[in-house]
Amino acid sequence: MFDIFLDDAPALVVVLPLLISAIIAFMPSKIWPWIISIITLLLHLFLSLHLLKEISVSGLIIYEFGNWEPPWGISFKIDGVNIGLQLLFSIFVLVSTFYSRKIFLNEIDYRDSGKAYSLWLLAVGSLNGIILTNDIFNLFVFLEISALASISLIALGAGQNRKALLAAFNYLIIGAIGATFYVIGVGFAYAMTGTLNMNDLVIQLAQYSDGQLAIFAGMSFMLIGLMVKAAIFPVHIWLPPAYSYAPSAVSTLLAALATKTILYFFVRLLYEVFIIYPSYLSLFLDFVLYPLSLLAIFIGTVIAIYQDDIKKLLAFSSIAQIGYITLAFSLKDHSGVASGFVHIFNHALIKGGLFMAVGYFAILYKDRVTLNSLKGFGYKYPITSFALLICGLSLIGLPLTNGFISKLYLFQALYTNQMYFSIALVAVSSALAVVYFWKIVEQMWFSEIKFKSEKEDAYIYLPIWIVTISIIVFGIYSTPIIEFSNLSADYLISGYQN
């Protein structure tokens, strides 16, 4: 009986959360929406594992919706590039949903619980769609659904702080501009080639060997639109307020996964489709993405140092970390793309863990978490604080944490490409990361105020510690992450070399 469903697993991982979200939207209970979401996401994880099994056998799954063949119908594609990300996505969403219950109960009116989880699942389904889709217009649809769901989720933070509304509005406007850019680009591409399917697009584009201005314009529009969505410097301005004023559970989900999925699509578009114009691609990578990444790394880190609000500090650190990822992607070789994927995985865990811990502090402190308000938290809430410490050390990139593995492979990739200036910059910025992170640690453990330890909620700290332990485990046993990343890079780069 299950076989019927399993055949449709690629569609179900996206459709299932979307469907359930409609069902629970008006549920007045404060617990049932959460339980249903958890069951849905367990199924989601099961389906993802099934996909992994399929992929390890066949290597490629093209799922055609309604059996319409690809150039006409919408199709999903699962291959080595996205299977690792799909798995990470599935697991992390499950963990953060566990984490979210008590957080949501504290931050929003319990009667809104149904709506919150409805939006939550909507965001999950659409972000998952971004990972799987093989159709550039379908991507736009998922981008919009995920943006609207995220914006509404961010606006739920208004119960705590009215600025959440402004942050959501900012995201709405800037996100809409990004999406518009993207869809204009798609329009150009469609006008020239008459197709929206990515595989077909590659074939059709090949006939315009060089010099079609409309194609280049379309590509540029698409890339800029995606850059806005992925918060690549300097079009990142929507991100810090959005992450910092959203309810804590929401910022966890967004920080860990939202930008990552878009970055994934971004790199897929670059190396799978735009690859047929090597000169355009290297122009974009060398003169746009590469310098912007360096700026993002440096400026993001420096601004983070001057933040007083912890969530904002983490958000600016995210800007810098996205810079690391795009820096790796701009390298045009296997080692670069692989190290970018390594950092996508690792940073999702690190930033997810950090936002989880800080989000819990926000609940405990019942106000925005600033540097001052963290005084003595190391003694007051030792379990969560210790998790925060480990995640932070990983963010800096110390050995035995997965952040170190990221740095290692990034350095290796930069070195093989002889980018010594970038190596120096990355080294300096990871040293600067010590500055902003240590300000937090100092307040938590070495301020003069002392507290007796208080009871912490196991429902909240267990998910935090699951993430934290995975950070250490993947720091010591990094093989799974490395293999998935190498697999992704194999698929993407083989196209480049041919």
């Binding site: 110390l398 050995p399 350095f411 040293a431 010590v434 500055v435 240590w438 100092e442 070495f446 990094s478």
Partner: protein, 483 residues
Amino acid sequence: MSNSFLIILGIITPLFAALFSYVCRYNNNLRDSFGIIGGLITFVISLKIFHGIQNNEVYQITFFTLFDGVDFAFKVSALGSIFSLVASSLWILASIYTIGYMRGAGEKNQTRFVIFYSIAIHAALAIAWSGNLLVLFIFYEILTFSTFPLVGHKQNAESQSAGRLYLSILVGTSLIFFLPAIFWIWLKTGTLDFQDGGILMNKFPAGYLSFLIAMLVFGIGKAAIMPIHRWLPAAMVAPTPVSALLHAVAVVKAGVFSFLVVVVYIVGPDFLLQTKSSDWLVWLACFTIMASSIIAITKDDLKARLAYSTISQLSYIILGAALASSLALKGASFHIITHALGKITLFFCAGAIYVTAHIKKVSDLKGMGYKLPLIFFAYTLGALSIIGVPPFIGSWSKFYLIMGSIEREFIFVAIILGISSLLNIYYLLQPVVIGFTQNSKKEIKLIKAPLTVWPPLITGLGCLVFFFYANYFLNNISGVIVN
């Protein structure tokens, strides 16, 4: 007991000491005794390993692979056996001294202090026995982080800013220079293991070696070569047991030890001698020796003066490593022992004077020599050893360093070493002279703290006694460094 078990036991004993101290935090005597017990255990283990190394035994253990060609592994080298012996033996005395000092000075948060003290020793031992450069780096960082709470122990504005400076310089330099240097070595050779004779020969471009040496010497900020020395005087806000054991022995010695290990087991002295890539460092080390000696003269605060003296003495070891000839390396390795013994004596005395008489400044020491004869006696022994007067142990390492510089035909360096000894005499013996010659009219109330008096006497006499047993240590050293 198997050899690998000895390593594990030695490394985790300080951690257990820390754990038990926390468990017994409500019983002060019990809590503080674990430092002494842990010290004794690690000392016995270090001694056994030290002898084992003399008999060509191999002590190593591999836990798991971190990434291609780099394991999480420990392997005791001859140099490491010396460093661990120094750190563990002095930990016993320092623990006794800590009890006397912390209670005499009425410091707060003693439990936290004892715990992080033990963790710092754990890190120092792990550095001594690390099997490759990355493991060394990991524990190098742990050492930095575990000593931060000790530096900022008083939790006032001054100690907080000092702690921040301490952390930002040490972690900053290690992340900006040391870690990329490690990556560089790994990319070129595919390994980071310590091997006799080094691993870089024929694999690393000789033209860039000076640059790598620079990244290493500035990246290992704990070696406190100028201009990366500011953290050391700043760290003197810590209670004196920290300055004594950590900032005269464990932390700074971990720094110079790391550099020495890199020169001996990674770069290889032969490679250095061929390329002459470290000759520039000889001059920087000389500059540091002279400059910090001169600054030491101007300092009236006894601990600050000792701190600058430490900076100057550390550069002796850097100097020896940079010269890279067999005699110089011998001197540099031996200086780890001699300076540790001498400088811990001086710091012990400085702390004892502070606890008993509440005097911090050299100019306030007038007439104190007659009131605190034992302390001043111990201080004089330590000072003479550091100056390098026979029959004190410090004369050996200085002798070898001078021989080494003559061997490399750096006559000027030998002269610098001589001048530096003269400056040492001035700024180290001045407190003694003031203490015994001038009289003070001030009435000073003395507090009895016998536990702060005996440790410096023991180490001070050690400086004298071990002069005659120098070969005992030198055997181990000359085993390693064969050009």
